[in-house]
Symmetry: C2
Subunit: 406 residues, 2 copies
């Protein structure tokens, strides 16, 4: 497998895209994108588990239930989340589905819809109609990067890449783009990702592969990536490579590619986290299960006290241990061990057997002041292990979020 | 029942206190307090559920298990949490218990120990020994306020009050003090409270009353007040009023007093929250149970996106609804209703039936800019209701916590 840093969702054969500005963002920037395949795609999606699911999430689940073997387009708007908008919101999401079907010449139930932006505001369907009509005429394989730009909200950089995967029967290509802004808490700020591939994969296999990959990537950055009103990850497979991914070995290699692309996109989101000045890799080992390791990692990754210590470059490791202690996961505190390390450096022991080690505090401080570093906590209970990625909590984060909306 | 704003833990008859500076705080301020009764007290405690319990928590649980009917003193230090310090930390906690017993002339198992401050640092037992010896000679009913000052860390104000409770057989008095600094997340930053009373109450009744009161006060401010390494609430009853609280009616009135004092102390903690500029009362109604209402309230009260919107005076109500949606509590989003109000003003409807109301945004903005206001969310599922108190998340909070420790 080869990652292609400047790849996009139009790198796989047969996909085109368009991005336009239709006035949903007050900045006047690109705010609407369409991803299109002229042939039927297998599709799968992973959606938020938030009870207050946005209208596009409801529409997409319904659409995929009926036509996951023949999706042709995804329409995405930024600026308005169309969440908490009641029946009128649902009607607006269905209208943009119909408008897009018309613009790209397919059926309504072949179109998926994504929205991101402010909650509780209705989509302006007149603006959407105009944007969709123009975008439909501009579809091109050249517009992958523009599409990645159009879905940004407070992101400072477009997030995209591609991967080439060598199977026994030949190469297939995978492309991806994502947006995530308030990624210190992705559960609230809407994380969207779209993946495309020219492999031929059944909807069932796509669904399995996508779920597994999302669990190990988007669900491992900060807190519950699964709980916003709009969070969605979609994958479309158009089969344009002519290569069928259906037997176990090929599927496993394809899955590794999907996991790699999702992982890279997820880490790009953390690096671009609102106000973030540091990128931290948290490894939790010695848990009784992988799920428990994830739980501990997430509690640490979302503790304001831990994250402000990271922001201050302060080796206040007690906050890390205390966060683990309140995670609800069972462990014997007298077996805890903690190390920290520069991203590629050797691990420096900080805690062993639940008590602090004799250590050189200046060495520890130097690591906490780096723009990226690793924290490794071992619970001493079993073989469960997981890695979680997070960023720090800065004054800048507060400024961005105190001043958004109004 | 009458609240006495300037009351302290020495307002009830028979209690004395002392506060000294023994060099544990680098500021040189008061950092050690003793609360003392020359006669045996019934005692009860509610402790953190954090797996990484601090040494004093372990020692107190053990002590109360053996002698909850004859406690005479509480020794409290600020500056060092004595958490995550292994066997040496445990030995230091036991040593301060023994030193205090000697200073106030009782047995070691009649002394409870509390610590607050940085995690992972050992208590300096030489400094403690000196402080305890001096404090033992300065015990006086005049020192209740000084004790409330000695237990502060990043608190900007001492937190104390008393209550006089009229029972059929006469008046009893209740005193209380608390400290809580990083109260935006009390679970990490150590919340300590000590209550004293001259009522005569059995240890079993005290335990029942304290648990119920803590559940409705300290456990209702921000997140899990129950999960730091050191969080502790103690109550001591010396019976000096000569009034026995043992039949049901009296116990209920006494319990109301304890709940009122705990509630006032808890709200004082929120108002003094690190960097807090706003005090918010969150009412969640229409839940299937009180427990579910508390869960929803806590998730809203700890959401960084909600709290930064509060800081910005931004009526971004979608974040409140979305936080409820990820709480794990079941509800039908189409029945949600939301109101906001000035602390004593009329409730302004914002959401009904899951969709936004037509409203005057400037009126809404004006409320969000007040230093204190109410948010009321109804889930439309049942009769469970709970109130949770919280504050906003400001740049100042980040500054305080990024710069603590080192």
């Amino acid at each position: 497998m080869k990652l292609v840093e400047d790849g996009t969702i139009t790198t796989p054969s047969g996909f085109s895209a368009a991005a336009v500005s239709c006035g949903l963002k007050s900045s006047g920037g690109l705010d609407l994108a369409i991803v299109h395949s002229p042939t039927d795609c297998s599709a799968a999606g992973v959606f938020t588990r938030n009870k207050v699911a946005a209208a596009p999430v409801i529409v997409d689940k319904d659409t995929l239930a009926g036509s996951s073997d023949r999706i042709r387009a995804v329409v995405i708007n930024a600026g308005v989340a169309n969440a908490c908008t009641g029946p009128r919101g649902l009607a607006a999401a269905r209208a943009s589905q119909t408008l897009t079907a018309k613009a790209v010449d397919c059926l309504s139930d072949q179109v998926l819809v994504l929205s991101t932006g402010v909650i509780g505001v209705l989509l302006n369907i007149e603006k959407m109609a105009e944007g969709i009509a123009v975008a439909g005429m501009q579809l091109s394989p050249e517009n992958g990067l523009a599409a990645a730009r159009a879905i940004m909200t407070t992101d400072t950089q477009p997030k995209h890449l591609a991967a080439r995967i060598e199977l026994a029967s030949g190469w297939v290509t995978l492309g991806g783009m994502a947006k995530g802004s308030g990624m210190i808490h992705p559960d609230m700020a809407t994380m969207l990702a779209v993946l495309t591939t020219d492999a031929a994969v059944s909807p069932q296999d796509l669904d399995y592969v996508l779920r597994r990959s999302v669990d190990r990537s988007f669900h491992r950055i900060s807190i519950d990536g699964d709980t916003s009103t709009n969070d969605t990850v979609l994958i479309l497979a158009n089969g344009a490579s002519g290569i069928r991914v259906d037997e176990r070995g090929a599927l496993e290699m394809f899955a590794e590619g999907v996991e790699a692309v999702c992982g890279e996109l997820a880490r790009k989101i953390v690096r671009d986290g609102e106000g973030a000045s540091k990128f931290i890799t948290l490894v939790v080992s010695g848990a009784r299960s992988e799920a428990e390791a994830v739980t501990v990692g997430r509690v640490i990754a979302t503790s304001p006290l831990v994250k402000t210590a990271f922001a201050g470059g302060d080796p206040n490791w007690g906050r890390i241990v205390a966060a683990a202690g309140r995670s609800g996961v069972e462990f014997d505190p007298d077996r805890l061990a903690l190390w920290v390390a520069a991203e590629t450096g050797r691990e420096i022991p900080v805690v062993r057997g639940g008590a602090p080690m004799e250590m050189d505090v200046s060495e520890l401080s130097a690591i906490f002041k780096l723009p990226s570093f690793r924290v490794h906590l071992d619970l001493g209970e079993g073989r469960g292990e997981a890695t979680v990625w997070t960023c720090d909590l800065t004054r800048e984060y507060v400024s961005i979020n105190a001043d958004y909306h109004t």
